[in-house]
Symmetry: C2
Subunit: 436 residues, 2 copies
């Protein structure tokens, strides 16, 4: 299985050219490409399955771990899910073209801020081949050209899936270079140098990987590096509800970024909450690492300093008592990853303080941290979850793939006229949308 070194500069130039055409395409053409893709995938299912079987065989020979093998599968069930997703995406409203600001500057001159695509986006994703279709389709719908780099293990499947995307683009009269596939780490390294042609990199991967990208490129990076999520059980929590929420946050799926890693318990409620909580956690197979106060109430492993900053992604949880809401907030802001944190309480006042002061993309009151997801929030689909604060924060849907431009429509106005007082600023807010 060979990968060939690509000329990333040449590919980036083609992406950029494709973007200029794609950005001017109608909503109908973009939707047609998505519907055509659903059809092409079904038509070419046998070829896709053959490629996927080869990937699976190679992965078996490489002794890939079972969960990774599972993610690599692209079978009829995945195909149906992907096709359904494409049709749902085609039915969503246009993320582009909306006027979000309109103001008359002076007589005969107005400014409009209009939503538009970002440009060329590089996305590096994990071994699931269905992620390729999901990401490419979100980019097409939002008018962005995309350079795709998937997991090495899925390369044969990804090649044929990317071909399907390009075929569908062409069928809809859109430039097929709007989607191009990268194949190697060297390709990624070369891509990072194309800051004049690529507008954004979205790396989905480990913290180290995201840092590597940030350290080696001037291109802006959106992504999340860690998911150290907390559930804080306040002194005014309803114990049964708190146990239910904390348990679900930890065990519903331990290997995802929005699973809880640390549970904080107010010392006043600890004697009432810790026994049933730890009982439920242990029954679910979770190892509990507690601070001294916790260990006085329930027997468990002593927590070490590094436990508070560890993303286990496993059946392990750290548990700590705090003397106040303020201490809980301080702990979360200091050790958390600004992803998603929850307070369980019956006090609206304490919930308001927590939600105001915790500096995270998601601040939850009485609900499991597992709800941090673009589909759950109602975005239709997501391209990733951002833990930075710039541009997009939290689950990133179509809106996260857009920017805007200011369109000024005038009739010969000059700054000299404004400065001389010959013309005056009116700054009259407008309610209409940009006429072009």
């Amino acid at each position: 299985m060979e990968t060939t070194l690509r000329d990333l500069h040449e590919m980036s130039l083609r992406s950029r050219k494709a973007f200029y055409d794609l950005s001017a395409a109608s909503l109908n053409a973009r939707n047609q490409a998505l519907l055509a893709l659903a059809r092409v995938l079904e038509e070419r299912y046998e070829a896709i399955q053959a490629a996927n079987r080869e990937d699976l065989r190679a992965a078996e020979q490489d002794h890939l771990a079972a969960p990774l093998m599972h993610r690599l599968v692209f079978d009829r069930k995945k195909l149906n899910q992907v096709a359904d997703g494409l049709r749902a995406l085609a039915a969503l409203p246009d993320p582009l073209g909306k006027t979000t600001y309109a103001m008359e500057i002076t007589e005969g001159l107005s400014v409009y801020r209009v939503v538009c695509p970002i440009g060329v986006i590089g996305v590096i994703f994990e071994s699931r081949p269905d992620a390729l279709i999901q990401i490419a389709s979100l980019c097409i719908k939002s008018g962005n050209a995309v350079l795709l780099k998937g997991g090495r293990e899925a390369i044969r499947t990804n090649r044929i899936l990317c071909d399907c995307v390009r075929l569908a683009l062409e069928e809809a009269g859109l430039p097929f270079d709007s989607a191009q596939l990268l194949e190697s780490r060297e390709d990624v390294a070369s891509m990072l140098k194309e800051d004049a042609l690529i507008d954004l990199i979205i790396p989905r991967g480990s913290r180290q990987f995201v840092r590597y990208i940030m350290d080696n490129s001037r291109i802006p990076v959106l992504g999340h590096s860690d998911g150290i999520c907390h559930v804080y059980i306040d002194e005014f929590a309803e114990p049964a509800l708190a146990v239910k929420v904390a348990l679900d946050s930890k065990v519903q799926n331990v290997s995802v970024c929005n699973a809880a890693e640390t549970i904080l318990v107010h010392e006043k409620i600890a004697p009432a909450v810790l026994p049933p909580l730890c009982d439920a956690l242990k029954k679910a197979g979770v190892e509990i690492r507690g601070d001294e106060a916790v260990r006085k109430i329930v027997p468990c492993v002593p927590a070490q300093a590094e436990d508070w900053e560890t993303e286990y992604l496993d059946y392990i949880v750290s548990v700590k008592t705090v003397a106040s809401l303020a201490e809980a907030v301080e702990h979360i802001n200091a050790y958390g990853s600004h992803h998603t944190d929850c307070i369980c309480t019956a006090s609206e006042k304490n919930a308001a303080v927590f939600m105001q002061r915790v500096d995270s993309a998601g601040v939850y009151w009485n609900v499991s941290t597992r709800f941090a997801d673009g589909f759950v929030y109602g975005f239709g689909a997501e391209v990733g979850i951002a833990t930075g604060k710039i541009h997009a924060r939290g689950p990133m849907g179509l809106e996260g793939l857009t920017t805007y431009k200011y369109k000024l429509i005038g009739s010969g106005q000059t700054m000299a006229e404004m400065k001389s007082g010959e013309r005056a600023y009116t700054h009259n807010p407008l309610s209409d949308t940009c006429p072009l």
Copy 2:
């Protein structure tokens, strides 16, 4: 004049702590700080003037160029402008707290997206001391803590101005460490390492300087590196209007980023437009560098390849003929800096194509590029102009200094219930604002 090396890690920690309090402050407290600042500046005017005189004396000894000397002055007129600006800013609506998305996820569980401040922002600005007040006040109004680094020449003035800001913050009951002053290049280099504590860097400076920042920090950077703005005179342009707009774009102020550097002229209208245009430019003292076709119509200096990618910031302009609207768009996208570009035309169709396809923060129809400014657009004030596409684009006002968080308000919902089908997604859009 000594500067002392600061412990930037310690300062960043104090900024972060200040941010947590400031972000929870009421609009009234933030506005009180702005009004107090206007008063404090007036009360301490003599001391400010004394410090400014020292800066000016030192600058004179260092033979600072006249335009830089001029920008360094902080006199009674500047004080009045600054105080007026502070009162106007206090009168603007709250940039924080607005609900921008609201959806019921399932019965008893809703998600709200609420606008909030970004956090700790590092701003590096030029020698104008009034910029310090402008930037600090925008940060206070938007709930962000700021680390300020001004021009070396203004250090004495900046010190006393920053003291005034801190005094005003304290008077309003807000943490004075919300504004701190950096004094040296070493301070800046140390600040760039604090990516765990600082959320955003806004460098106002040369292209090389912005690149230096990007290459040496993981902290996101917003700023503009270049202003290569174009005026394209279309074949359907009204000649008198086109000359007026092109002239203002070039000469109204040559040393600013939104001044035009290149004028493109459709070859069909070149014989009619170039003579009056070049006449007007020459009368204004502008050197014209033309391509071959231009030189056949008007005598001028031959343009070299590098002219198309040069930001002159001077009384120089490059002029080129193009065979089509498409060629103009291609030239602008290839050589421009994605800042602000204008088409002069009487054809709505051509204007629409230009505004769709030119990939710039500002796309103008029949109006001078000099209008690219936050005050002009009606934002009240601006912290800078962004030529990137991520987060903010074009003039950045208060809105550019905000992000958002998702607040989920539930009653014990778990993902296990959703997956088992015990509960269903309702995805019911809500029209209310977040209750807390």
